[in-house]
Symmetry: C2
C-alpha cells in the first residue's frame, strides 16, 4: 500500500484555497490573475517534488516525472467557476502532487478551462490530446464578457507559448479525483465513489414560433400561442421520456423564455433549453429519436411550429475496467463497504483523456451535494482516504498486466 | 338624424396625430411634453366649439357644455402607449368634439393615463368618479422609469391643481368610441361593433419553489424541479379550463420565468403570470375556484410548492341596454347589417364610468387587428360612419324615456 502524506495533502489544498479566496470558496476564473497565480503556485510545488513543470500555450500546467516508468497521468483542473468551491478541480490536481510526493511514477496535470469560461469547452485537455485547432482558439470568446480567448492568453503572458500534447505510449492510464457534486455518497454514508462512466450531454434548443397578439382582443380559437405549444411539448416529454429512458438517464429543461413576456400579450415566440445525459450511446440515440418524434407530432397537432436545433452532443466515456478493478480492490481494503460504483452525471477532463488512454475517476462525497457555489465542501477525512485509495490503486494498476487499448471514439 | 361634420372630424384626428408623431403612429406617454401639448390642443378645440375647458389635477381635460341638458358624457383618453397608434383613445375624444360641434348636448372628456404608464391604472377616470385617493397618488410610480407620479404631475405643471369629479345627476350616460383592437369586425366585413360589456381581467402570479441542483449530479428521483411543476400545472390549466370557461372567456400565460435559467441547472424557482378575462362575474368566480383547485391538487401531487397570489381582479362592466338599443337602431339605419354586438376583451375608461352612470361603447374596425403598435389604423370611411352612428344614438337616447339607474358595483 502506498504511503501518502495526507497531512501535507490537506495543507496543500488549504494553501491553494487562499488564492482567490471568496467566503469559504474561491473565485479563480480561467486566466484571471488569481488563476495564473494558482498555476505558478502549482509549478513551484511540482518543482519541490522533483517534477519538471511546464506552463503551455493554453494554460495547461504539466509536471513531468523524471523517474522510471511506466507512468500514470493524474490531475484535473485548477481554475474555478465564478465564486465557487475550493475543491472542484483543485482536489484532483493536489492529489496528483500527493501521489508524486509519495514516490509513485505519476505525471501531474492541471488542464485549463475545464469550467468553460471560454467557448468550446475542455480547452486544456482537448489541446493536450491534439483536439484543439489554432482556428478554434482564434474564434473562441469569453462566456463571461465576450472578449476573445487570444486577448486573455496575451494578458496572461501566454501569447506565442507552445502547446504541449500527450506523448504517445508514455502513460498507462489517466486518473482523476473529483468531488461528487451530488448526494449519493453522503446519502449512503460512503467515503468514495468509483466512476463507471461519464455521461454525455446532448443539449438542444427548441424554438417555437407563434403569433404575438393582444390577450383581450384575440379569441381562444384565433390564437397562435407559442407558450402554450411549449407547455404541451414539455408535458409530452415529461409523460413519455420515462418510457424510453435508461436506468440513470437524466433530462432537464433549464430555461423557458416567452416573448415578449408581458401579462396581457399572447407569446409570439418561445425558446426552450432542453438536455438529456446518459453514459450509453444507444440510449442517447433512442432519446434523440424520441424527442424528434415528439416535435414532429407537435408540428402536426399545433398551430405553432417548433424547430429543434442541436447545441452540443458530447461523447460518453466508459471508465477503464482495469483501473476500476484496481480502485475497487484498494477501496475495499482501506474502507470495506465504504465505497460504491457510480456514473458521473457531470462532464470532466477524464472524458477527453479517455479518447487517447485508459481513464478512470474517483469521487469524494460532497456535503449536501452543493456544487458550483462557494459553500461546496467535503470532510477532510474523506479527502484523505480518497487520496490514499487512489495511491494504492495507481500502485496496483501499474504493477498489473492488465492493459486496455485506448478507446478512440 | 344628427348632422356630423365628418370632414372636420377626420381633420381634427389628423391634426392631433401630428403631436408626438412617430412613423405613422404617435408617442405620447402620459404627462410627457407631447401628451401635455395634446391636452392643450384639445382645450383650444373645446373653446372654439363653445365648451368650457378645464385641465384638472390628474391631467383630465373636461369640456363642459353650456347649453341646455340633459347631457351625455362622451370621451376616452388622449395619451398613447409608447410608440403606438394614432387612434387608440384619441378617436373617442375627437368624436366627442364632433358631436358637440354638431350641437348635441354633450360634455367631452379626455381621462388621463388610461394606458397605465403609472401604477394603479385608469387614474383619470377613477379620479373623476371619486375613486382615487391622494394617498394612492403619493405612492404611484411610473411603470416606464419608476419615478413618482407626483414628480411627473409637478413637471407637467399640475401640482396643487384641483381635481374635478362627476356632477351627480348631470349626465344621462357615458359613451366611448374606440378601435376594436381585434379582427372580428374586419373579418366579418362590418363597420361598427356595439359593445355588450367590458371584460374583467383577473391577473394572478403563480410562484413555484423547488430545489436548485446540478442537472448532472441529481437523479430524476431526487429532483425538485420547479419548472416541471410549472409545466404540469399549465398543462392541467390547458386541459381543464375549456370545461369550465364561458363562451368568450380568454386565458393567457404571458410569462414563465425559470431561475436561474441555465441549461445545466435544475430550476429552483418558477414564476408564472396567468390571467383570464370574462364579462360575467359568476364565470370569473368559477374560474378562480377552478384555478385554486388545480393549485391545491398540484401541491398534493408535486414535490414543489405552488403559491397563488392575486395581482388584480377588475370588475366587469355590462353596457347599458338603453344606450345599446339606441346604438343598434342608429347603426341599422346608417349601415344595415354592417354592425354586430360584441364584448370588449380589453379594458376601457367606460368600465370605470359604468360604476356611476349608464355607459356604453362603440368599436371601429382595426386593420389587421393591429394594436399598441405604431402601424395601428382604421379606414377613414369607417371612422366617419362610427361617428355618425354615435351622433344619431346620442340624439335618440337623450330623447328617450329609457333610463337605467347607475349600477354601483
Amino acid at each position: 500500500m502506498a504511503t501518502i502524506d495526507t497531512a501535507r495533502f490537506l495543507a496543500d489544498l488549504n494553501d491553494l484555497r487562499k488564492i482567490g479566496a471568496y467566503k469559504t470558496g474561491v473565485h479563480r476564473p480561467t486566466f484571471s490573475p488569481q488563476d495564473m497565480e494558482s498555476r505558478r503556485w502549482l509549478m513551484a510545488r511540482m518543482a519541490e517534488i522533483g517534477l519538471e513543470p511546464v506552463l503551455d500555450g493554453i494554460g495547461n500546467v504539466y509536471g513531468r516525472n523524471t523517474g522510471p516508468g511506466p507512468y500514470m497521468l493524474v490531475g484535473s483542473h485548477i481554475e474555478s467557476q465564478n465564486y465557487a468551491g475550493w475543491l472542484d478541480g483543485a482536489l484532483g490536481v493536489v492529489a496528483g502532487l500527493a501521489l508524486a510526493r509519495a514516490g509513485l511514477p505519476v505525471d501531474v496535470c492541471a488542464f485549463a478551462d475545464e469550467e468553460g469560461h471560454f467557448e468550446g469547452g475542455f480547452l486544456g485537455s482537448r489541446s493536450f490530446i491534439g483536439d484543439l485547432s489554432d482556428d478554434e482558439m482564434d474564434h473562441a470568446r469569453s462566456r463571461n464578457d465576450g472578449s476573445p480567448l487570444r486577448d486573455a492568453l496575451k494578458a496572461a503572458g501566454l501569447e506565442g507559448v507552445p502547446r504541449i500534447t500527450v506523448e504517445k505510449g508514455r502513460h498507462k492510464g489517466y486518473l482523476e479525483l473529483h468531488i461528487e457534486q451530488g448526494t449519493s455518497l453522503e446519502g449512503a454514508g460512503q467515503q468514495t465513489g468509483i466512476v463507471t462512466g461519464i455521461v454525455a450531454i446532448w443539449q438542444f434548443r427548441l424554438t417555437i414560433i407563434g403569433q404575438q397578439d393582444h390577450a383581450g382582443g384575440t379569441t381562444m380559437a384565433e390564437r397562435k400561442d407559442a407558450g402554450l405549444t411549449a407547455v404541451r411539448l414539455l408535458a409530452a416529454i415529461d409523460e413519455t421520456f420515462p418510457l424510453v429512458c435508461g436506468d440513470r438517464t437524466v433530462w432537464t429543461t433549464g430555461s423557458i423564455v416567452l416573448e415578449p413576456g408581458a401579462p396581457s400579450i399572447i407569446p409570439g415566440k418561445a425558446e426552450i433549453l432542453f438536455q438529456f445525459r446518459d453514459v450509453d450511446w444507444s440510449t442517447l440515440e433512442r432519446l434523440e429519436k424520441h424527442l424528434r418524434a415528439l416535435v414532429q407530432e407537435s408540428n402536426r397537432r399545433e398551430r405553432c411550429t417548433t424547430e429543434l436545433s442541436i447545441i452540443r452532443r458530447s461523447i460518453p466515456a466508459i471508465c477503464d475496467p482495469a483501473i476500476m478493478t484496481a480502485l475497487e480492490r484498494s477501496a475495499e481494503q482501506r474502507i470495506p463497504g465504504g465505497w460504491r460504483a457510480m456514473p458521473s452525471g457531470a462532464g470532466h477532463d477524464a472524458q477527453v483523456l479517455a479518447q487517447v488512454m485508459p481513464s478512470a475517476m474517483l469521487f469524494s462525497p460532497s456535503i449536501g451535494g452543493i456544487s458550483h457555489h462557494w459553500a461546496e465542501d467535503t470532510k477532510e477525512e474523506d479527502l484523505a482516504v480518497c487520496c490514499e485509495v487512489m495511491g494504492d490503486a495507481v500502485e496496483m494498476f501499474l504493477k498489473s498486466n492488465d492493459y486496455t487499448p485506448p478507446a478512440k471514439a
